[in-house]
Symmetry: C2
Subunit: 409 residues, 2 copies
């Protein structure tokens, strides 16, 4: 896969775009958004404050599948070398979650060390406990293929009821990585199709991330064409029952390693499919940049209404007596408050947070302790939304399918 | 498709097997089973009494699909000629249900006439009313391909919300034909995949007949291989959601008419798929014979327990007073009655009808009016089960996949 990366200037540009957007957002966040979010306790209402680690992370691609479907082999093929700590074999081999990332030299960072590293986005993983951290590591290596993305190798799901307890919340971990990922590759073995109950539960744990899911039907050269059709049909039939969306997940059919095809009747198809997959992965940084921008704008607009809302509530509070009574009254009439504020500051009602959520949070919140809202700070936020962000956006050229450049060799 | 039928002696033998089993069952039924069922009112408890029409029917194959997917063209290709009344076109053309059957000469029998013909199995269709009967006909023609089966062509399902009311219970009719059929072919157009809401409802109306369903992905040569994969995947994804069984319906991929392939990359696959389909259709009479035998045995064993049961209940009744009281008591204790009878006559408990159903029916049944059970008649039934039926069964040779003989040309 690196063969075409080498000559591919565009790929490099894509990675740079992502990097510029990422660092641009990071400095805007620190200067204009974070201070407001912190002072008005937005993190007590919505998402946690963002750390450097959150900005450090590259788009992630998680590989998921039953054991021995070829997840680790795919990564080796994709990188054109083994990552530090890699193990491949016909029995269940990979026994941990491994984040494969770009870095200056080969290194394996154990889980406990990885989650305290502020330049990496794994700190939340410490919530899964020591049993999990013993089964997590970061594998660092220099690779052009990792300039724009991070790969997550995972332990194979066992078949049938063979499952022994893993000692940690496997589906929870899958869900966490799924939430962070930009692409989730479910890998199946055409030669030995199997969707165990645990794997079904893993897929269900990915609910909400359905649009990130892609299917990889691997080892497709190991069966004849009619058998391949039966397996492929059976796979889609079953997945359609597990994944609730009417939109069909994209499937890439082929054999994703560096060995010659066993049955090459479908060589043309496999090559076209691999080409599509690599192109889609190549476009990830750009798409991730667009998504990050989008999320950032949503976050900034929410923060703005939040500040107006809380500073308004604060102003309404009596200075001495009847605080509790007044607070109760304000919370009950939040609906009216929203409409008044929307009109006063020309805010779209759609930017306001869900009433129910805010009511619940406010009930245990003392808003007399908040600072005054400095309107200068809101102006700076507005300026960011109307100028800085559009400038960042200009860095991302309109999408064009880069089929020519992406062709292998 | 007839090309290989012509040289195929085995096909002829298959059809003869079905015919012998059919007529054998018919005469056994009339002589030994029907009189018992009639005298002990089995039809008031379970299925209706069988008529000559029920025995006359050949295995049926129903074709179902959106309009213009190629249902009528498939039939023409299969028969290697047009059936009387056939219409093919790119707009919705077939506007009625057409049973295409073997006969001495070409003839179209309108619906109203067809349902009163006792030699045909369509009498129950009169329940769907005149609006339907105006949209039903039987098309008769001499054809070796129809010696063993009857084909049901159907009006194409319209897409989207274009549905105008048909004036009769379309899904009800589909369900009826589905119940009678031995094979249900759902035809899809690879070039224009569409599963409208009405078609979804039709598929749902086939619930209970899921194992009869096969999928035909037609016009597969009109798209390139990658597109075909996407369409096929999307089809299975959607069908998996509509058809509740975990078993995957068999799909036959190809172009089922006599024109040359537009894109022949997958010629080998299409030929193998067509071959499988024709072989499966060819095996229908044999499988239908096995099924009919099986149903018949079940029916006979049920009739036997039924007669024992009702004659026992009759004997328990007081001759003059307290009839109602006694009847109630017997019904309540049916469980005990089952066990007593099972022991006395060495009947397997599994042969007895569901208690709840029998209790419901008995509540409005006057069993003092039943005849005495003549044990000679049960002996004749036993003799039928232990000798006549095994003899019929010997007519059906063990199944062997007839791939060689079935190859086209
Ligand atoms: N495309 C392929 N075609 C045929 N065999 C393959 C292919 N890819 C991998 N294999 C073989 O399948 C086996 C399992 O490979 P690998 O260890 O990469 O799978 P895995 O999904 O990472 O398994 P685990 O879940 O146990 O880590 C190995 O023997 C490997 O050589
Ligand atoms: N295998 C095929 N490949 C390409 N075109 C086909 C194929 N089979 C049929 N067609 C074309 O598709 C159109 C519809 O065919 P046909 O009338 O047989 O469909 P139908 O399913 O019976 O439609 P309706 O539901 O309206 O009766 C016709 O123009 C026919 O020539
Ligand atoms: Mg592995
Ligand atoms: Mg038609």
């Amino acid at each position: 896969m690196l063969k075409w990366l080498g000559v591919n200037k565009k790929k490099q540009k894509e990675d740079e775009i992502f990097d510029s957007v990422r660092s641009g957002l990071q400095s805007m966040y620190k200067q204009r958004l974070l201070p407001l979010e912190r002072d008005f306790k937005a993190n007590q209402f919505y998402a946690p404050l963002l750390t450097d680690g959150d900005f450090a992370s590259k788009p992630m691609v998680m590989l998921l599948g039953q054991y021995s479907t070829g997840k680790t082999t795919f990564i080796k093929h994709f990188l054109e070398r083994e990552y530090p700590g890699l193990r491949i074999g016909p029995e269940p081999t990979t026994d941990r979650f491994i984040a494969v990332m770009d870095g200056a030299h080969d290194q394996v960072i154990p889980g406990n060390a990885a989650v305290v590293d502020p330049t990496k986005a794994f700190s939340q993983l410490s919530n899964f406990g020591n049993n999990f951290l013993a089964r997590f590591e970061v594998s660092v290596m220099p690779s052009p293929a990792l300039k724009g993305i991070t790969l997550i190798d995972t332990p194979g799901v066992l078949s049938g009821n063979k499952q022994t307890s893993r000692g940690y919340d496997f589906e929870g971990v899958i869900k966490w990585f799924g939430d962070q990922s930009d692409l989730i590759l479910l890998i199946f073995d055409a030669h030995k199709l199997d969707i165990s109950d645990e794997f079904r539960r893993c897929i269900q744990a990915l609910r909400g991330n359905d649009t990130k899911i892609r299917i990889l039907l691997n080892k497709a050269d190991m069966v004849n064409t009619q058998q391949l059709m039966r397996v492929y049909g059976a796979l889609m039939w079953s997945l359609g029952k597990v994944i609730p969306t009417p939109e069909v997940a994209r499937v890439y059919i082929g054999s994703f390693w560096d060995q010659p095809l066993q049955n090459d009747e479908n060589r043309k198809l496999f090559e076209a499919e691999a080409n599509d997959l690599y192109t889609d992965i190549q476009l990830l940084p750009r798409n991730a940049a667009v998504r990050k921008l989008n999320d950032f704008i949503k976050r900034a607009r929410l923060a703005k209404t939040h500040c107006y809302l809380l500073s308004y509530l604060r102003k309404q509070m009596p200075s001495v007596f009847g605080k509790q009574q007044k607070q109760k009254q304000l919370i009950q009439n939040l609906d009216g408050v929203y409409r008044a504020l929307a009109q006063e500051h020309s805010l779209p009602l759609g930017d306001f947070p869900p009433i129910q959520l805010v009511q619940d949070k406010l009930a245990q919140f003392d808003f007399s302790k908040l600072p005054k809202l400095d309107h200068k700070r809101i102006e700076l936020l507005d300026e960011m939304l109307s100028h800085q962000i559009p400038n960042l956006m200009k860095l991302i050229p309109a999408e064009e399918r880069q089929t020519e450049e992406a062709l292998p060799e």
